[in-house]
């Protein structure tokens, strides 16, 4: 990946941002300029770092649990027709529900600590991971299955030797999506009720009209999400290295 296009785009965005602030003379608690935000970020760097670690912890645990559950569900669905007829409609139905609406209930059930945020992240990434991997498992090239049949393979060996490896690129795509969604889940959980984490910091700064700090927290979250995505992409690239 070339470095300079995103770099140039960032500079451009900062210039536009500062021009709007200067041109409109908007008050700094409505829209602070980039310089103010940078200053707030530097002054509060230790606080921000502390909250970032909390959010990162929620995201990573949420991804680990959500991905594991998604993999297990996809395997279950792919190997059992009964599971498909029973679980699939429920799964699709739950996707029609706005998961965000569950955030207050999760806080009620799991408290204000880490777990309500982890649960939110898990709920958001569970479906994309499950459906991506399941799709891959159900779309094994038929020729491979023919070959395996003529070799007298058992269904479980066909699953582990052929269907799962053939579906790994799809799982990789699911995990990359999870890396994008998990931060959103964690932050929504924090908005609803938390004293720690970047989402909580944003709500608190907003309440105290420290808009510059809120922006600093938000941008930190943005950078964290991008880094997570890049890490997930790097980790899953190996899964995807096959010609199609």
């Amino acid at each position: 990946m070339k470095v300079w296009p995103p770099f140039a785009a960032t500079i451009f965005a900062l210039v536009v941002w500062q021009s709007i602030v200067t041109a409109t003379g908007v008050q700094k608690f409505i829209l602070p300029g980039p310089a103010l935000v940078a200053e707030a970020w530097w002054t509060n760097r230790l606080v921000i770092a502390e909250h970032t670690l909390v959010t990162l912890q929620e995201i990573l645990l949420g991804m680990a649990i959500g991905t594991t559950l998604g993999i297990a569900t996809a395997l279950q669905l792919a190997t059992s027709k009964t599971a498909r007829t029973l679980i699939q409609p429920i799964l699709v139905f739950t996707q029609a529900l706005p998961v965000f609406a569950l955030a207050p209930i999760l806080t009620l059930w799991l408290g204000f600590g880490l777990w309500s945020k982890i649960a939110m992240a898990v709920l958001i990434i569970y479906f994309p991971v499950t459906s991506a991997f399941f799709d891959g498992l159900m779309r094994t090239p038929p020729g491979y299955l023919d070959l395996a049949k003529t070799m007298q393979a058992s269904p479980s060996r066909i699953l582990w030797q052929i269907r799962v490896p053939a579906a790994l690129p799809n799982l990789g795509a699911g995990v990359r999506l999870a890396a994008v969604y998990a931060p959103i889940g964690a932050v929504i959980g924090e908005w609803v009720g938390a004293s720690r984490g970047l989402g909580a910091l944003m709500i608190m700064s907003n309440g105290r009209a420290k808009t510059d700090l809120m922006f600093a927290a938000m941008l930190t979250l943005g950078v964290l999400s991008v880094l997570l995505y890049l890490a997930a992409a790097k980790l899953t690239r190996r899964l995807g290295d096959r010609e199609t």
Binding site: Y144, L147, T150, M151, S154, R157, I162, E243
Partner: protein
Amino acid sequence: MSMAPGITLKGSATIEGRQLFAPLSLTLDAGRWTCLLGGSGVGKTTVLRLLADLPTGAAFDGTIAATDELPVAERIAYMAQSDLLLPWASVEKNITLGARLRGQTGDAARLEHLLDRCGLQDHRHKKPTELSGGQRQRVALARTLMEDKPIILLDEPFSALDAQTRAAMQDLAVELLEGRTVMMVTHDPGEAARLGHAIHVMTATQLQAVTPPQSSVPRAVEALDTLTCQSALLKLLMEQVA
């Protein structure tokens, strides 16, 4: 490998009530190459898949039997037009796939022998994407042979290759498949004329046997009897299209 049996398929097939092929009787002689030609969509692949007990879109009404009266499907090895190499596995792992799928340990000596014979020693640790089309087909052939089955079903295995690679693969296949009962579906009259101990042209209504040259296979491409047979086959196929 156990003794290669002869195989007879007798019967007719329908697809959603529509007749695919009329009652026919196809015999594969033990230890010989039988080539099956015919227009596109006439049912050649269907016949081959019926022999292998693989799913087809057709309903088959008839019987498939071996001369030794033992089951057929579990004694076949199958090679298709697409090499079906697993892209995530090395050449070696692809060749020994069958053993792994049955939870057995592959025959190491046999693997070495086949890597030698198919000219794949230098490529054994490579992934299929690092190979040329001809090399990939050699891996697929080695995988087919690794199975050590007495009956071999080939569905246009070399049709994606260029002319000289195809001729080299035909020679190698004849050499390595010696003694096995082979059925090869092909579009290429030249291939049938080179390789067939028996040649059948399939139409919707019948199976027409064409007498192959007397010489032993693989026949020389430039030999007169091969060329005569090839043009007779081509003429027959063209008449059917008309």
